[in-house]
């Protein structure tokens, strides 16, 4: 009797399972993105702003005054156009056809309120400390015109504004920051529906000023384990998988394929200039000569990386195509490094371990004894910002696409106690940074960074290595999507199963 009942119950369950599967296959057209890292929060005026994964979601819900194109240059978004008067007055003409998802109108007052909240000395919003050094005042000079006055000519203002998403003034004032963070509302192509742990559901904003997106629903979910992420992609549960390492690309065949975008991350070996043997310029230069960057790009990244001869890649403003830069000269490296007797410690995080092994290999070939030290992520971060590591392999993302964005945080001598890194400081470099930051004349800036990059190649606190591509796994069911170097998913035209 009991057995019979059990069998019946089991059959019913099995039937329900099968029915659920078939039904799901028919009705499920939601575009699903599987990310490796869990997003933080989406309120643009609160910290933490989150990394790329969070911004990628935030950017579906919110717009900014300007948006980066695939060459990382700022293009109009909520600002239609802008003019600069007297080098310091930026007059932005705004779109007059934009509303937030709750129907609140977007206008000059919205922009002024958002920027002034960021400029408030108590603000911890992302970008606040940069904007405070740049902006003097924000005025409403028309219903759809805002004038931003900068303290001095500010060449990086536009690109900084590309990272400032705009929130609805009235709503945030009414419900408060924490409530707004729980249910964010923007002007973007998708509306926030719900968040369940690490899964975020969005639906199409049919009234989007740029025209409605192709997909009615988009879900961002977190799948931290790489093999599970690839499995979910191959099983058709997700349509885009991010952070695919080059050695896993072979797995992306059949119903899925790899898609690559120019990466914005620069990898380097950093040397502590306060500690022997790297207090010697000759040793640092010799280290920089020890690496066959072409071989690293080929062997480690399967060609999906560019060897770099300077701390910049070609799409960045300030990149110097004519700079001789770092090169590979094993004999010259050996001549110096084989005289160093004490072994050096090269620290690295798990994610960059293979690259560090290659680096250590090249250094060993050049006669330098290297001990690799694997350090947990947060502890590593703590040690490098404190300037306590003898040498390390790491990387820096330059989504801003401007040389200033990588050089200033690492080498400006007043970068602060939380950014010691190599401990390198140089008044000549400071003067160049100052000049590069205080002219809107592109030709002048370009010449300034030519000097700065040459100086850094000569002094070699960093031996710059490669700039890998970003690799995504994409389902063949997905149409209309290409990854962007900005790391922001432009999914407006993407849809599942449409041809």
């Amino acid at each position: 009797m009991l057995l019979k009942r059990t069998v019946q119950a089991a059959t019913a369950l099995l039937l329900a399972t099968v029915m659920a599967t078939t039904e799901a296959a028919a009705a499920d057209v939601t575009l699903v993105v599987g990310q490796a890292v869990r997003p933080t929060q989406f309120h643009p005026l609160l910290a933490p702003g989150g990394g790329r994964e969070t911004r990628a979601i935030k950017r579906q819900i919110f717009d900014a005054l300007v948006v980066q194109d695939d060459n990382l240059r700022p293009q109009p978004q909520l600002a239609k156009s802008w003019t600069i008067e007297n080098d310091v007055r930026w007059i932005f003409e705004l779109r007059d056809d934009v509303s937030f998802h709750n129907a609140e109108r977007f206008n000059a007052e919205t922009v002024k309120w958002n920027l002034e909240r960021i400029l408030d000395p108590n603000s911890t919003a992302p970008g606040a400390s940069t904007l405070r050094t740049l902006i003097e005042s924000v005025e409403v000079t028309g219903e759809y015109q805002v004038t931003v006055t900068t303290k001095s000519p500010a060449p990086t203002l536009l690109i900084t504004l590309a990272f400032v998403e705009l929130a609805p003034k009235n709503l945030v004032e009414e419900v408060g920051d924490e409530a707004f963070a729980a249910a964010p509302i923007g002007t973007g192509p998708f509306l926030f529906v719900s968040r369940d742990g690490s899964t975020v559901q969005l639906k199409r904003n049919d009234a989007y000023w740029g025209g409605p997106a192709a997909s009615a629903e988009v879900t961002f979910t977190t799948i931290p384990e790489l093999s599970s992420r690839i499995a979910a992609l191959r099983a058709g549960e997700i349509h885009i998988a991010d952070q695919i390492p080059p050695d896993q690309v072979v797995q992306l065949s059949g119903n899925v394929a790899p898609a690559t975008a120019t990466g914005t991350r620069i990898f380097f070996m950093a040397m502590n200039v306060n500690e022997p043997p790297f207090d010697s310029v000759a040793v640092r230069q010799a280290v920089a000569l020890a690496f066959d960057r072409d071989l690293i790009a080929q062997a480690l990244y399967g060609g999906r990386a560019r060897p770099l001869n300077q701390p910049a890649f070609p799409e960045m403003f300030g990149y110097q195509p004519d700079l001789a830069g770092f090169r590979y000269d094993p004999a010259a490296a050996r001549a110096v490094l084989s005289t160093v007797t004490a072994p050096v410690t090269l620290s690295v995080r798990q994610v960059d371990f293979v690259l560090a092994q290659a680096v250590a290999g090249f250094l060993a070939d050049a006669g330098l004894k290297v001990e690799l030290a694997l350090v947990e992520d947060a502890a590593f971060n703590d040690s490098i910002t404190g300037g306590r590591l003898q040498s390390y392999v790491s990387s820096w993302g330059v989504a801003e696409g401007d040389v200033d964005a990588i050089l200033h945080p690492h080498f400006w001598s007043e970068r602060g106690a939380n950014r010691r890194y190599t401990n390198y400081a140089n008044p000549a470099l400071d003067a160049l940074f100052y000049e590069g930051r205080s002219t809107t004349d592109s030709a002048r800036r370009f010449a300034v960074y030519a000097d700065a990059l040459r100086l850094l190649v000569d002094e070699a606190p960093w031996a710059v290595l490669v700039n890998p591509m970003d690799i995504y796994g994409v389902s063949n069911d997905l149409t209309g999507w290409m990854p962007s170097p900005t790391g922001m998913y432009r999914i407006n035209e993407a849809r599942v199963g449409g041809n």
């Binding site: 329900a16 399972t17 029915m19 659920a20 933490p48 400390s129 899964t199 599970s228």
Partner: protein, 338 residues
């Protein structure tokens, strides 16, 4: 019995207090600062950093921070997540229930599979069936959960398409949440589609989880059955001409206490020990939440999460003790005689 319960409750409080101190200190003693980590590569001035630290109370002396934490925790307020800016309880609640659902499913599965096999092995002690099942148990015991999980995903999900590769339920199932245990919610709302989806998502992680517990259950139960079968009372029962089923029922009853203890301890440790499993199957449980929080040094989430884990372990072992007392008349009588 009542005295035992009271003693254990007091112990629980002491244990939790101790755990809270350890976690609170450890998470702050390991290098890495939450503010630095979530700022990442953002350009931020030292003043802004200091402001963020004070916003989260991280600039106060540790002892003051602990006092504030404890004062709030006893009122059920575990603070607010640094990275997600929502109350920690809002994150822990659903994650805890997700883990519980998985652990219950896995434990049920191992009982359903393990008890009959152990019976079979004990009945055929020393013969082929016994040797085969013992080998299977050893296999289940020694297989890394991680590897088993990935293999099942590759074969059963990717190639055969029978089960989802991860997650807890299809978003499209439209499940209304009541208890937070999705199978239960689906049944009480009569949502067959959600029930199917929830069960389908449970299959692979439960099997991976049950692999190890089934093995230990089998070995313990088999061992106790065999030793009981050599006891005098069994011979006496046999001599009285009792039938086999009755005989085995008596033996099972005697073998139950050690088995229940093993399963209970396993149940408790699984609540906190499923991190690998939850990562492989993207199961949004306590383990996955805490490992993320540790990476981000999201102190309040780590503290709250570990406290919940410790509390559930202590409570589960308390429940196991009670069951043990109820199952074993010798202990009950010992209590009464005291």
């Amino acid at each position: 019995m009542l005295q035992t319960l009271l003693d254990r409750l007091l112990q629980t409080v002491v244990v939790l207090l101790f755990v809270s101190v350890i976690v609170f200190l450890l998470v702050r003693l390991i290098p890495g600062d939450p503010v630095d980590i979530f700022l990442g590569e953002a350009t931020v001035s030292d003043e802004q950093r200091a402001m963020l630290r004070s916003e989260h109370g991280l600039d106060r002396p540790i002892i003051v921070q602990y006092g504030a934490f404890l004062a709030k925790a006893v009122q059920g307020d575990l603070g607010r997540s640094i990275t997600q800016r929502v109350p920690v309880a809002e994150l822990l609640g659903p994650a805890f229930l997700a883990t519980i659902e998985l652990v219950i499913a896995g434990t049920l599965l191992s009982v359903v599979v393990g008890v009959p096999i152990a019976l079979l092995a004990a009945m055929r002690h020393g013969r082929t069936a016994d040797q085969v099942t013992s080998a299977l148990a050893l296999f289940g015991y020694s297989m890394p959960t991680f590897w088993l999980g990935i293999m099942m995903i590759l074969v059963l999900s990717v190639h055969l398409g029978w089960f989802p590769t991860g997650g807890r339920i299809a978003m499209s199932a439209g499940l209304e949440r009541h208890t937070g245990l999705f199978v239960v919610d689906a049944i009480i709302t009569g949502n067959m589609r959600a029930l199917g989806s929830a069960l389908q998502h449970l299959v692979l992680p439960s099997i991976a989880l049950a692999a190890v517990s089934t093995a230990s259950l089998m070995q313990v139960l088999r061992g106790s059955l065999i030793s009981i079968s050599q006891e005098e009372f069994v011979s006496a029962l046999r001599a009285r001409g009792l039938g086999r089923p009755t005989l085995w029922r008596h033996m099972l009853r005697n073998a139950a206490p050690p088995t229940v203890i093993i399963m209970g301890v396993r149940f408790g440790s699984l609540i906190g020990g499923g991190i690998v499993l939850e990562t492989v199957f993207s199961w949004p449980g306590l383990g996955l939440l805490i490992i993320d929080a540790i990476r981000a040094r999201d102190y309040p989430v780590v503290q709250g999460g570990v406290l919940v884990m410790a509390a559930s372990f202590v409570i589960v072992s308390l429940v196991v003790d009670v069951i043990h007392i109820l199952l074993d008349p010798r202990i009950r009588q010992g209590e009464a005689g005291r």
